[in-house]
Symmetry: C2
Subunit: 403 residues, 2 copies
């Protein structure tokens, strides 16, 4: 029948109202999620030893103290489903089981993230959640999962809103607060519909560890840092506490230069992007650790205002990005996209910077701001004087301006 | 990640091939399904006593011998889900449980049908299967279910192909052959995509027991027999063994006149429609039983050629429908849609009837056919002579022509 008969009107109203009650967990991800994910470095080659050691290293390296929280196992943790259809972890790679692994992660004061896919199979060919959403959500909750990254492989033309809403409702039904990371690659403009479904949504295809390349893999492409950055245009109005544009996980420490890693990390901070490290934190260099753990840069990312940064000035390969912060402060980042060192001669008073969406403006004519260099960690005077300096190639200067 | 990396190419191919293997159960519903369903007469008011008594009555009345096979409980059999998420029957209405009920149905030599919905709630506000597809399919199989009617209420914009495909794959995964009845009301032209997903698909909104009315229920309408009939135009090319257009269940015995019931039943036979009785078979009149049990009319419906009938001639409220049958036979039905008795003077030799899709033709100039009247159950001569007779209002004459 097309709809319930009049006789059942009361039941129908109940059905409607319970449908309206379906929601994501609120109060989570009020600032961009921070953590680590296995994919960028390890791909399908995950096991419980890696995850345990990584959790330990996140604490020992100071990354936890810097704010990294979610330890997310990406694809390929799955084994078969049991006779009742419940998903089990790969018994060879995770012999102790996922509950024990979650307990270990939690014992470190960290949170436990996991991965699945809207399709019948994940990208790596493991069992996906299609048609098993409630069963999988219940299983994740029983393991103590706090975060789900939910991929878009083998979607076979499913309606993205529908597929992600089903899993949202399944997660919500468990009663366990779980951050929901929508990995839909921007295929269906998730920024337009995902804010009531998940806490973050991918805006693009996969990132890769190069400055400005595009790698063609046959049926798909991955994109360098600048390519991803350029795809964020126009998206800032959709971001805010509990709802973040996700330009994909970090490639810091995965092969770019220290300058490039610094620029990448700074720009992700400016974008209010999730900061999900993707390197081998057990063996990272001091430079990588310092880049990932720069608390002043992270504070820009984690600012409670939750505004996404934007390019205020762009000229000849040099871009000046701005991000309004709480207490009328601003983050300003000079990004040198080119291979040549760029001279900077920036008169703060001649450059009114406005964020119409956040209803903030930086007007150095009226207000004198103190300037803090977030990478050299030095105070740099005020906006009374023009800024005269240089930006090395593929690098940034990043400042916090406070009244 | 958008797709598995090259490293996992083999896994990916495996995922693709297993996806291609996903299918409906073939070899089922090679002729239009026949049976009984609770909705048209009883709506939400179902319980195990009704279903047991109905099963018994289907045998005792001779309906089983006439071909009726599936006993389908429509909406409102459901109770709550258990702690693992498995659906349970309403403990008040089905205190013995569904397995016991299925066993009773099977003990009668009949088959067991059940109902669910693509949404989180059924039309009657009971738990739907959204996100629980595999769990529900597994449960149905454990109960011995042979047939699933799957409704479209509370779909909340789900992609119909995706939603029905998920349940198809879930049913297939159980290993139990289950006829899959797609009740999507024709919203998304299921005749164009459903033949590889289900065995039958609704083509319209709900039927109701009147000749030519349209009942407006506020947000939805139900349709009389003639209204439904007219909505079948153009659909015949999609029907065949294992894939049937479903103009909704029978209203025979639910309040129309004996003539109207006969016409309705005859036309559903001509349409190669599923013949799912929808009356109270425990207390039906002799006329209703005889209408539903006319084996010669049923044979037209169940003819193994599986061709759907079509209107060959239409004039002033009198329609002549034709349906090619196996062994170069034909069914011909004179339908009087009007309130007046219609005279018939039909010269077989002057009316070549062609079914281009079935590649059949009835050419009485070249071939002499014997004529059998399927309601009076008499032989009526041949096509050598014109047919001179009358058709009462809202009634039919139905013939089988054989060489």
């Amino acid at each position: 029948m097309p709809i319930v008969k009049t006789l059942f009107g009361v039941l129908f109203l109940f059905a409607l109202s319970s449908s309206i009650l379906a929601q994501k967990f609120d109060g989570l991800a009020l600032t961009p999620p921070m953590g680590w994910n296995s994919w960028n470095k390890f791909g399908c080659d995950v096991d419980e030893k890696l995850i345990r050691e990584t959790s330990d290293a996140i604490v020992a390296s100071g990354m936890k103290a810097a704010g990294y929280e979610y330890v997310v196992i990406d694809d390929c943790w799955q084994g078969e489903r049991d006779s009742l259809g419940f998903i089990r972890s790969d018994p060879k790679r995770f012999p102790s089981g996922m509950k024990a692994l979650g307990d270990h992660i939690h014992s470190k004061g960290l949170k436990f993230g996991i991965y699945s896919d809207v399709g019948a199979k994940t990208c790596g060919g493991r069992p996906g959640s299609r048609g098993y959403e409630y069963q999988d959500a219940k299983t994740y909750a029983s393991w103590g999962v706090d975060y789900l990254k939910y991929d878009w492989c083998n979607n076979e033309g499913l309606n993205a809103v529908g597929a992600y809403t089903t899993m949202r409702d399944a997660l919500f039904s468990t009663g366990r607060p779980i951050v929901f990371s929508i990995c839909e690659w921007g295929d269906n403009k998730p920024w337009e519909w995902a804010k009531n479904i998940g806490h973050l949504w991918r805006t693009t295809g996969d990132i890769t560890h190069c400055w400005d390349c595009e790698e063609n893999h046959g049926t798909w492409s991955s994109f360098g840092i600048m390519r991803i950055l350029d795809k964020q245009k126009g998206l800032k109005i959709h971001a805010g506490p509990g709802r973040w544009n996700d330009p994909d996980m970090l490639e810091v420490g995965n092969g770019m230069t220290v300058s490039e890693d610094r620029a990448h990390f700074s720009m992700w901070a400016m974008l209010a992007a999730p900061l999900i490290a993707g390197n081998d934190v057990r063996s990272m260099s001091n430079e990588t650790r310092e880049t990932l753990s720069n608390k002043e840069v992270i504070a820009v990312n984690q600012d409670p205002l939750g505004a996404q940064g934007f390019p205020a000035v762009s000229e000849d390969g040099l871009e000046i990005w701005a991000k309004p912060l709480s207490n009328d402060a601003w983050a300003i980042c000079f990004l040198n996209r080119s291979k040549e060192t760029k001279d900077v001669n920036f008169n703060w008073k001649e450059n009114l910077i406005k964020d119409d969406f956040a209803q903030k403006h930086l007007d150095a004519k009226k207000v004198t701001y103190k300037i803090r260099d977030l990478w050299s960690k030095r105070d740099m005077g005020t906006t009374e004087k023009p800024l005269r300096t240089v930006v090395p190639p593929h690098d940034v200067l990043m400042f916090r301006l406070t009244k």
